[in-house]
Chain length 228, copies 2
Amino acid sequence: MSGVKLEIQPIEEVQSLKSRTYDALKAAISAMNIYDSNAELRLDERALSLQFGVSRTPLREALAQLEQEGLVRIAPRRGIYIVRKTKAEIIEMITVWAALESMAARLVTQAASDEEIAGLHELVDTFTSTEVGSHMGEYSDANIRFHGAIISLSRCKLIADISNGLFMHVRAIRQRTIFEKDRARRSIVDHKEIVEALEARNSERAERLVREHTLRLRDHVEQFVQLD
Amino acid sequence: MSGVKLEIQPIEEVQSLKSRTYDALKAAISAMNIYDSNAELRLDERALSLQFGVSRTPLREALAQLEQEGLVRIAPRRGIYIVRKTKAEIIEMITVWAALESMAARLVTQAASDEEIAGLHELVDTFTSTEVGSHMGEYSDANIRFHGAIISLSRCKLIADISNGLFMHVRAIRQRTIFEKDRARRSIVDHKEIVEALEARNSERAERLVREHTLRLRDHVEQFVQLD
DNA sequence: TGTCGGTCTATGGTATGCCAGAAACCAGAG
DNA sequence: CTCTGGTTTCTGGCATACCATAGACCGACA
């Protein structure tokens, strides 16, 4: 036996019921497609507390947090409702996203190492604009990872946090719109240009390309996506 | 008597204890200068609930909200502490602010009316770079209102909300740094240029000027402000 | 006198019960 | 049948009691 000492593992950190309930609720809401209009939009404190097996207090705190994030709306003595974002709100979110991610790109040109930037290639080079049609699922993932990578390489935790909060609202849209072949092709070209600008440490150009890339998504949504 | 009808006023909407407690707490925290190191950083649920005259439940919900905004940190069975932001965090906030406000400037060039943009003049023209020294208090206010006006004219509620959340953390810094005469002078010149670019509907230039203006604040803080 | 173990206290987490108000329901008058 | 007023029920807001644990405190033993 190599070890005479007790092998001590840090004891399993059980987080509070509140945060576990929060995670569970958030996951549940993300899982359902809230834009399918026949989805159940009403929540009930007491029913949920039974389903989760916790009392109303931690559940209420979790709900309050979700309300602050804009996922649910709590109407006193009326009920709790899952929020369906309006098109205008989605467009604002994409606009803010554009602002943040373009700033992130600027920061990447200043803060990231050459190796880190080079790492972006593998999220981009795997796809060519001609054959992307047959790998849409993978591309959609790579697309999301690419944007996440830029934000992460910026080393700005606050940008990451805010973007993360927006992401879950925009994700559904992003996935929906990417499935139009022209947008995917255009997207691939954009991404390659962005990586080039980052490698050249061209802050202005990287920032502008990222901004325009995301604002194009915004304009596309504005024109073609029907939500309400 | 001109009116035979009852003059009905919408009944005073009493908001929940939770939100009133939240407001009161937030105001109290803002009022104290948390960077005076001998300030009391520890909060106590039960004591506060007595002072506010509410039970712990709404108080806790208010505190939870403040925690999510990053104003306090709740440590289970240890205590609740007012958070002192690190310099790095402040710098991230100013960076995000720069991203948002520069995007706002871009939106202003697209969405605001000529009259609205002209209205910015009165926040800028009252001061000249030579005589600002004797009206620093007023200028500090006008400065804040100017930035608020750009964000408001962008018509993007989300930018306004996020900026607002950042504002209270950065406000103390902004006021502290403006009181160095050279920065005030430089600021006045910047603002005038920004208004010109907005009037010319020059999106790129307006965006760039706003960004650079705020990033200069960031770099100034990075170099000269001592927090920790 | 210093260390170690147990005990007490302070504090946030959780469960639960009551309350007020909104909406649904119901019954009686017209 | 319709409209109105009351009544019941459902729901979130709030108060409060209890719980578990971190840390302070204390006393005995070496």
